[in-house]
Structure formats: C-alpha cells, structure tokens
C-alpha cells in the first residue's frame, strides 16, 4: 500500500468516525432518541454514567479527536505522521476501554459507539503504517 493510499484510508475512516460522533453529539444536545439497531443498547450506553467525562459527552471528545486526525492526515511530513500515530494510539487504547465498558460493565452495545471504537482500533494499525512509509527528513 502506498503512502497516499494509507493517508486516504486514515482520512476516510477518521472522517466516517467524525460523522458518527457528530450524529451522537447532535442527538445528545437535541435530546432526540438515537436510531439504534441490533439489540437497542444505544440509549443505555448513551445515558450511562460512562457517556460523559466531567460533564462533556464522550461523543464531543471523539468528534474533536477524529477531526484532529483528519487534519493531521491532510498534512504531509514526518511530524504530522507522528502526531497521527499519537492520536491513533490514544484512540485505540480508549476504544478498548469503551468496548470493555459496553460488554462487561453495562452489558449493552451501542452500534454507533462500537463502529467508532472499531475504527479507533483500525486507525492504530493504519497510523503505524503511515509512520513506516513516511520518508525521513533529509536534514535535522
């Protein structure tokens, strides 16, 4: 896979996750029910004590992080690749935590959250791949 291909994949997945997060932010503030499939655990997860940190919905944090990743992906160079990797890794670790919370603590699955969590995990690999493919700067 070429560097451009990897960057397009990272950008595409991050954009998709940002879109899902934007939807969750919108329904949260509009106090609308979430369109949920497969089991209907979305409301349970979104209204749980784990859906916010310090009063800020996790969806907002997710939206900010995924948009930041889209921006870092649009920028060429090693520094942007390192920043993408740091963002991807932290998203991946937090995604594992959120999957454990849904499956073990809450025993309810929010498909939207699971989709963004899966993308978060996938992005760890893709951002590592970008880092490997990114050429080193000639001068330091």
């Amino acid at each position: 896979m070429s560097l451009t291909g990897v960057r397009l994949a990272v950008g595409g997945f991050a954009l998709a996750a940002a879109g899902i997060s934007a939807y969750l932010v919108t329904v949260h503030y509009a106090k609308q029910p979430i369109a949920c499939f497969a089991g209907g655990g979305c409301e349970t997860v979104q209204k749980s004590a784990y859906s916010e940190i310090g009063g800020l919905p996790l969806a907002v944090l997710g939206l900010v992080a995924y948009v930041a990743l889209v921006v870092a992906t649009a920028i060429r160079g090693e520094l942007a690749a390192v920043a993408s990797f740091a963002l991807g890794l932290s998203m991946g670790i937090f995604a594992v935590y959120l999957i454990v919370v849904q499956t073990v603590v809450l025993d309810a699955i929010c498909v939207w959250c699971l989709a963004t969590d899966s993308i978060g995990l996938l992005l760890v690999g893709l951002t590592v791949l970008r880092l490997r493919l990114e050429p080193q700067p000639l001068l330091r």
């Binding site: 349970t44 749980s48 004590a49 937090f94 809450l106």
Partner: protein, 155 residues
Amino acid sequence: MRSLTRRGRVLSAAAVAVLASAALIAASATGAQGKSSAQAAPAAAAAADQNKLWHVVQLFYANQGVENKGWLSEQLVVAVAKATPGLDVKKLDTARKGKAVDSRMTTWQQLASSAGVNSTPSFFAGTKGKLGPLAVTALDVPQFRKALNTLINAK
C-alpha cells in the same frame, strides 16, 4: 541541543498517547462512580427543607437500578418528587438547583469525609456517646450482632 531521532520522536509520541488515554480512562471510571447518587442527593437535600428527606431517599432506593447504568434520570427525580405525599414539587425543583442546597451538600460531604464515610451504606455505633464505624461485611443479623457485641464487650 541535538534533536530527537525518529525513534525518539515515535517513542515520545507513544508515551504521550498512553498517558493521555490512561488519564481519560481514569477520569471516566472515577466520574462514573457515584454519578447516580450525585443526581439524587440534591433532590434529597432539598426535600429536607420540607421534612421529606427520608420519604424521597426511600423512594429512590425502592426504584434503584443497576449501579452506573444511568438509571437515575431527570425523569425519575421528577417522578419521585411527584410520588412523595405532601411534597411541594415546584418548591423542591427550585431548591435542588439553588445555592443553599449546593452549600448544604458541601457541608454534608465534608462531615462524611471527616467521619470516614466512604461507601453506602455505612453504619456507626458506640458506647458512652462516642461513635465509630461498625465493622460489618454483610447486611444480616449475625454480622450486626457480632459487631455490636464486640463493641459492647470492648473496654
């Protein structure tokens, strides 16, 4: 000063990412603990003004769901208030969002902390006017009998 090598930059970024996610996880897990009681407590504290604290607390416990699953919604707080006989719901609603209740909650929290109350339920008993935590590990009669007998027989 020499700049970092690529390996150094990547390792630094990884360390920052791990620390940031660990901080987020800690904040999330800590914040989730007791979130339900944080919503119920102001309502109970405001009900105290109308001498209905125990009625409100009793109704919350009667409708308690699984811990940290978000069972305590705004709707439940309103439903509990409406279901409490003799409670002025409008008065309670204004009071529970007010500064007086906020300050009362802080005082109660400080009292609880200084007394060593860190879980629900906590029991205190004592002789000669001196109260101390009652060491029970289960909510049954033999446990309480044993703990109280130990307290009574202690010099």
